[in-house]
């Protein structure tokens, strides 16, 4: 069957006068790893939040497994969200809870699992991202950036979701830690067989984790293809982005002197 697992059709989202998503179309097939690249402030995080229902688009539709989830509310939205895991750009770890309780949070609160059982799963998930049980007792503020990302990753996969979003998983990390995170993402996704959307502007990361790549510019997907096509996309915007050149069709909104 060829029905996409996640599909966005003509999604529009504005904040006041500012149009962030301008008729965005994207489809991701089941079990694929989609990487969305694009500059800062082009609406990548907003796109993920629209899919999760954290933001409501003004128009357009979002389908999960063929079901229209746009504007879904209440219990049905909760059911849809059970299938998702998300690694937030800033980690978004609960700083009032120790690391293990962060990882076990969805199991304890969302699924009412007993504390001890949830704790064991949490320790196991922490081990999967290379963190020992002693880290579980620390608080998020006591961790380095790389460790926080790993805890965020463990929390995102704790409930074995079918769909996982990674919002800039390697931003702000040194290149070695970035590669560690990339490997963890690839491993976790393989183990779970999940469909993923990752957002990044780190091309090394994109090449490592992507099956497919899409580029977002001014709130639209302007190019989409498989990961090995990225180097000869024939698209000037993509060329400029992956080569990191200041000159080209993409204009930064900087006032020229």
């Amino acid at each position: 069957m060829t029905r996409p697992h996640i599909e966005l059709k003509n999604v529009q989202k504005s904040f006041g006068p500012k149009h962030v998503l301008n008729g965005l179309d994207l489809s991701v097939m089941r079990g694929r790893s989609m990487v969305v690249i694009g500059g800062s402030g082009t609406g990548k995080s907003v796109m993920l939040k629209c899919i999760l229902g954290l933001l409501r688009p003004e128009s357009g539709s979002i389908y999960i497994d063929g079901d229209d989830v746009t504007g879904m509310k209440g219990r049905r939205r909760d059911e849809v969200l059970q299938h998702f895991g998300m690694l937030f750009q800033g980690g978004a770890l609960f700083d009032s809870l120790p690391v293990w309780a962060n990882v076990a949070f969805g199991l304890m609160q969302g699924k009412s699992m007993k504390r001890d059982a949830a704790r064991e799963i949490a320790i196991d998930k922490l081990a999967q991202v290379g963190l020992g049980p002693d880290v579980g007792e620390l608080y998020p503020a006591e961790l380095s950036g790389g460790m926080q990302k790993r805890v965020g990753l463990a929390r995102a996969i704790a409930d074995n979701p079918d769909i996982i979003f990674f919002d800039e998983p390697t931003t702000g990390l040194d290149p070695i830690m970035a590669d560690v995170i990339n490997n963890l993402i690839v491993d976790c996704v393989k183990r779970l067989g999940a469909t993923t959307i990752s957002i990044t502007h780190d091309m090394a990361s994109a090449r490592k984790i992507a099956d497919d790549i899409a580029m977002i510019y001014k709130g639209k997907i302007i190019w989409q293809g498989s990961a090995d096509e990225i180097d000869d996309s024939g698209n000037d915007y993509v060329e400029q982005f992956i080569n990191g050149r200041a000159d080209g069709p993409i204009e930064m909104e900087i006032l020229k002197p």
């Binding site: 954290l54 969200l81 937030f88 800033g90 700083d95 949070f105 609160q109």
Partner: protein
């Protein structure tokens, strides 16, 4: 701009804000009565809001009772009414000063703390993260705080009433020369149950206002540290103003019959 237009837009903004707060309160109350219930959160919040407010509320009540005794004695001596000290202290504390001053002190402590905490959770995407972990933030964050404040405020005011009357008693007997037995007898004979219960009813309402304002402003804070700071100030100011205005309304309702 046109002067009238300016007044108009302020009034419209105010009405819109009242509408938003009412919707927020409705959601919070609905979530309070529907399962699941987060008992652990409720207990933690009762400790934070009630127990840790005891020192500041007790201190405020003690000195207010004392100064009230002093003022009534001095003022009353002008028309030979010094012996009214005990009864007026008791009335003033139980009906008005106990609930209102406790409300204002707790508003300063608790509304601010709640707004800062939830505001930080909002701007660091922790509230979004709750949603992705299948946990309703209204149930998990707002409902326990409001419930805890509504339960603990009356308990705090019972303590405030007792300590306030004791403050008056100590000043009355130690420095104004009242006979301690007569002072106490006057207090007990004069007080009616309605004086105390009206204060307790008021304080439950103040508890609701305090937590609601903290949660509302925290939940809706935007834009980093500055936004959280603004939310904190707005929470305290609006809670204080609402306490003073509803206090007047409730006094005129409760004692109209």
């Amino acid at each position: 701009m046109n002067f009238l237009a300016q007044i108009g837009s302020v009034v419209l903004a105010l009405i819109a804000e009242v509408g938003r707060v009412s919707l927020f309160a409705k959601d919070a109350i609905l979530r309070m009565v529907m399962p699941p219930f987060y008992g652990r959160q409720l207990l933690a919040q009762m400790m934070r809001i009630g127990y840790y407010s005891l020192p500041v509320v007790g201190l405020t009540a003690f000195f207010t009772g004392g100064v009230l005794a002093l003022q009534i004695f001095i003022g009353g001596s002008r028309f030979n009414a010094e012996n009214l000290v005990s009864s007026i202290v008791a009335l003033g504390i139980t009906r008005e000063l106990g609930p209102v001053l406790a409300g204002l002190m707790v508003a300063g402590r608790v509304s601010a703390a709640i707004a800062a905490e939830l505001g930080t959770m909002r701007v660091t995407e922790q509230i979004d993260a709750l949603v992705t972990l299948s946990t309703n933030p209204f149930k998990y964050l707002v409902a326990p705080r409001i419930l805890a404040a509504v339960i603990t405020m009356p308990l705090l005011v019972v303590v405030a009433d007792t300590i306030g009357i004791m403050g008056g008693f100590i000043v009355g007997t130690e420095s104004l020369g009242f006979n301690s037995g007569a002072y106490l007898k006057n207090t007990v004979d004069f007080l009616q149950l309605a004086d105390i219960t009206s204060g307790l009813i008021k304080s439950a309402v103040f508890g609701f206002i305090i937590a609601l304002m903290g949660c509302y402003h925290g939940f809706n804070s935007r834009g980093g540290a500055q936004g959280v700071g603004r939310a904190t100030t707005n929470a305290v100011v609006s809670a204080s103003i609402l306490i003073l205005t509803t206090n007047y309304l409730m006094t005129s309702l409760l004692f109209s019959g």
